[in-house]
Symmetry: C2
Subunit: 217 residues, 2 copies
DNA sequence: GTCAATATTATACGACCGTATTAAAATGCG
DNA sequence: CGCATTTTAATACGGTCGTATAATATTGAC
């Protein structure tokens, strides 16, 4: 079956190029040349460039949110009920798919970058093909956090989820720069350890969610 | 003096257009038409599109970091020494310029969006014209946080600063969406109250920096 | 093997892009 | 005023873009 191959080759090339250089900066010709297929294939399979973008983002975003839901469900069944799931595991389930996208089939650390790109360039609009899943995910976690923090305003919890999602967004890119600058050294700091990063951001998020101020000063 | 007017008109138009639609998506013609000046003015005053972008970003980024440094200095002189500045005020000084850009002459809430755009599209590279100021700012705050947390690994503190900066980045855009989704309602939630947002994100950041876990479960 | 459906290719079209060139106009100074 | 400098304007150029069209090739069912 040739049809599947071509379509997937295009998506594969689009994924890498879009993530690396952005949607506007990559031409349909760039994609088809990289994929080794004909220019017109994009129109045929995706209806045009915009369709290709939507499909590419969907193939990146949906597995993340599916993985989040899966992890949450696993936690609930494992501990019997939502309110028995430790907060740290809840937060980890929420963050892990973003830091470790490979675990849900989303390759490469370019994922966050492409997602950020799309969100910003599309006026923070979740692509239609991913919206219902996103809603489901947000609501599931919101409900879980509401169980853990019965006294806290639900809106505040959602805000914290957004803060948490944002925290990790700059880490891949700016994090390296900032770390480099602050340490004063010019040499590249190299790849960031993902497990350590996950632990860091979970700890940080955990404190933010906890909502209690540390007793310094 | 006509020269200043034209240059400023271009920067003004570029600011709005770039923030709203992105750098790639806005043509030099869009800018000059909006500004009501001739197409060639951009080449003349900025050397080309790239020069215009750099200048626009600089005019948005530098005041933010200058304001951050200014607030920090004020706090130090006010309280006598760094270690006497309450942590909450330190975090507020770091966050406030980003949430309230108008206070340092950076108009409109499009600032964060344009900055995010630029950082992502430029591979998280701070523009050369803003780099030294950025470095100065990061190092000043890093030093201050090190005073407040003498036992904490400096690298961890920088990470927390990056987390904090990221937290607020999605709030303008995705925050609205998420809040809307989670509440289940379809209607637009309207403009976000900035003072409330600052308070929220400061509180959240404060907890993250505190590094102590809340005693839920 | 035939044939309709599906998939791929080659190619052309019109539109818009960023920049350079050249001329016109405005400005500042003696 | 007169003139050199700076600024604005009109326009042309080469290139690339996304898309549509038409022809060719491949597939799968009978």
């Amino acid at each position: 079956m040739r049809l599947v191959e071509t379509r997937d080759q295009i998506l594969d090339a689009a994924w890498n190029l879009f993530a690396e250089r952005g949607f506007e900066d990559v031409s349909v010709r760039d994609v088809t040349n990289t994929a080794g297929v004909n220019l017109a294939s994009v129109s045929y399979h995706f209806g045009g460039k915009e369709g290709l973008i939507q499909e590419t983002v969907k193939h990146c975003m949906n597995p993340i949110n599916e993985y989040r839901i899966k992890l949450l469900n696993e936690l609930v069944t494992m501990h019997g009920s939502v309110d028995e799931v430790p907060l740290v595991e809840l937060v980890t389930a929420f963050m892990r798919p973003v830091v470790m996208p490979d675990e849900c089939g989303v390759r490469s650390g370019l994922m966050l970058r492409m997602l950020a790109r799309y969100l910003i360039e599309s006026d923070y609009t979740i692509p239609p093909a991913s919206r219902s899943l996103y809603t489901e995910m947000i609501q599931a976690y919101a409900k879980a956090f509401m169980v853990k923090f019965p006294g806290v305003d639900p809106l505040t919890l959602v805000k914290h989820m957004v803060f948490a999602a944002g925290s990790v967004m700059l880490y891949h890119g700016l994090g390296k720069v900032a770390l480099q600058l602050s340490s004063g050294s010019q040499e590249d700091i190299g790849e960031i350890d993902r497990e350590e990063m996950l632990q860091d951001v979970v700890e940080y998020t955990l404190c933010g969610f906890g909502g209690r101020r540390h007793n310094v000063d």
